[in-house]
């Protein structure tokens, strides 16, 4: 275990813990800059990771830091995407201004949802956001003058300051810039009094209220902030998919966002990014596995005889080509994470790090869940 003795306020206010940590992050940044050269084939998927990172960040602020679970975040993504495309293509607003406007519109929508949310907790809030998302999806369907309705709406390539960004590489860097800016803003927000108030609300509403945290203001803020991030993500997402249709922004997408924060690890910004990497790259990995797995398993079982190997290969091939398999794999991963690693990938990372830094002295009990009786959430 290393403890940092802080000797100045500058050190306390710094973004990184120490020089070593800063250098690691710089190395990561350099790696991200090099990525288009290293892996040009998967660049579209990497842009998807960055956009999902923004989404994960958004939901992490709300669910992970404020404790308000939303089952309807895909609606905010949709509002951001449609608003941005409408501003740019129908009203001719400059690109950056349009992103800002889209974020503002989404934030307003978020605050609107946040207001009734003040009276609800837990389950009721989740279901209210779900209802909101389903209503918004129907609005996307019907408001044809803005959204193009069921026919959908084609999205042009972004044009920033008169420069058209055509290639995947420039779009990747655009997403990267937005994600880093959002991370920086969120990290600073979270360690300011604002963020501490949100965490206090998460840990105990009553305790937070009694030390002077205005629940109404902060909860509405959390919703608006989260929605604004989602709006920015939506604007980028619109260019990423290139074609907006209402059936993109379904409940399933909202659930994918939740999957992201849970698998990544609730209550940490690292978790949001880990989750985004995981959720955005999993379909890519599944589709890769789909191509190679039958062949591999076929060869593996060929030691039992040529016919067996061929039969196994064919059976596996039939199985992995099932259209409904992917959501099931997502579900399975979610279930396994909740049962065996409720703190997500980031929690596992922390454990591994602690194991090595304490090397012979690591105790499993450090992270063991305390046993408790089922706590009632009902009055009796």
């Amino acid at each position: 275990m290393r403890f940092i003795l802080k000797t100045s306020y500058r050190q306390d206010l710094g973004l990184f813990r120490d020089g070593v940590q800063r250098n690691w992050y710089l190395a990561l940044f350099a790696g991200l800059l090099m990525l288009p050269l290293l892996w040009p084939d998967f660049l579209v998927d990497f842009s998807q990771v960055l956009i999902f990172g923004l989404c994960g960040l958004s939901l992490m602020v709300l669910a992970g830091y404020t404790g308000l679970v939303s089952l309807g975040h895909a609606a905010f993504l949709g509002i951001g995407a449609y608003a941005h495309v409408y501003f740019v293509q129908d009203l001719g607003v400059p690109w950056l201004a349009s992103v800002a406007l889209a974020a503002a519109v989404t934030a307003a929508a978020g605050a609107l949802v946040g207001l009734p949310a003040l009276r609800m907790t837990g389950l009721y809030l989740a279901i209210a956001t779900l209802a909101f998302a389903l209503i918004i999806q129907e609005v996307f369907n019907r408001w044809e003058s803005v959204t193009g309705g069921l026919k959908g709406k084609a999205v042009e390539k972004p044009v920033i300051f008169g420069v058209a960004l055509h290639g995947d590489v420039t779009f990747y860097f655009l997403c990267l810039a937005f994600l880093i800016a959002a991370l920086w803003a969120t990290r600073n927000m979270l360690r300011a009094p604002l963020g501490r108030a949100l965490m206090a609300i998460r840990d105990s509403e009553i305790a937070a209220q009694s030390i002077g945290v205005n629940l109404a203001v902060y909860k509405t803020f959390a919703f608006a902030y989260s929605a604004a991030l989602m709006g920015v993500a939506g604007a980028l997402f619109a260019h990423q998919v290139g074609f907006l249709a209402p059936d993109i922004f379904t409940v399933l997408l909202s659930i994918q966002f939740l999957l992201m924060v849970v698998v990544g690890g609730l209550g940490s910004l690292h978790g949001a990014i880990f989750g985004a990497v995981f959720v955005a790259l999993l379909p890519v990995m599944i589709s890769q596995a789909r191509d190679v797995l039958p062949d591999w398993l076929g060869r593996l079982f060929a030691v039992l005889g040529h016919d067996t190997g061929f039969a196994v290969g064919a059976a596996v091939d039939r199985f992995v080509k099932q259209p409904g398999l992917e959501p099931g794999i997502f579900g399975l991963i979610l279930v396994l994470f909740i049962l065996f690693e409720p703190r997500g990938i980031y929690g596992r990372w922390v454990k591994i790090k602690l194991y090595f830094s304490l090397f012979p002295m690591y105790k499993r009990a450090t992270f063991r869940w305390q046993k408790s009786y089922m706590k009632s959430e009902r009055f009796r």
Binding site: L123, G324, L325
Partner: protein, 290 residues
Amino acid sequence: MDAILQLVLSGLAVGCIYGLVALGFVLIYKATELVNFAQGDLMMLGAFTCYMLIVWYGIGYWPAIALTVAVMGLFGAALDRVVLRRVMGQPQFAVVMLTIGLGAMFRSFASIVWGTEIYSLPTPFSARQTMLGGVSISHEYASIIIGTVILCAVLYAFFTSTRLGLAMQAASQNQLAAYYMGIPVKLMFSLIWAISAGVAAVAGVLLAPISLIDTNLGFIGLKAFAAAVLGGFGSIPGALVGGLSVGLIELFSGAYLPQGFKDVAAYVVLLIVLVVRPQGMFGAVGRKRA
């Protein structure tokens, strides 16, 4: 007038289905404080199982229903035993995510086993109707309403006048006290899951004739969830009333409001109710004691 009565009838029939699924939610929530988002998917599995028994294996309608309920009951109990018991006492959010994951797995399972085709379930009630005054009562709708009434009566009798039912009520009211009275609380929870899955299976079988069976049948669970919240989560009559109101709202808004309102009307009403009365119409759930 006849048109309105006709709508009321269809609304009640659809509402009964929502009510039954909502009942499943509420039973589990009342007993174990777990929110089961996979309830709709359990219903879907029930409908598929019944279809398989009737059409693939040629079993008669009534034995097939009994067998389906038994199979789904066992499945529900196993689900509790293997998966959900591990997350007792963990934050509600974790449980919600867990059951969402389970629901996705069930859908995937169904599409692998039964394929993505759409099936229709043949029943003794198909395509028959009785004229009563100016209203034509389709036997399928009548079967739903009568089935729901019978099921509710049986459940009511079970919970109020059998030892086992009383023990379940006790276990759901206060776990610790129930333990002290010698009630096997864990077994009770498994049984509640079994009953809940059985109710979902019945809902699926009753729904199958009027809405075809496919893997997305489970999304009815979302509307049933709205129904359960509308009635106040944790109140059994509330779930049924909520279900019926969602069914009626849906049918009437489909008939009298512009296109597109049919699917969202229930959610609009839900949002309004939640804003005005956050604990639902029959709210039994109060604010969390911190």
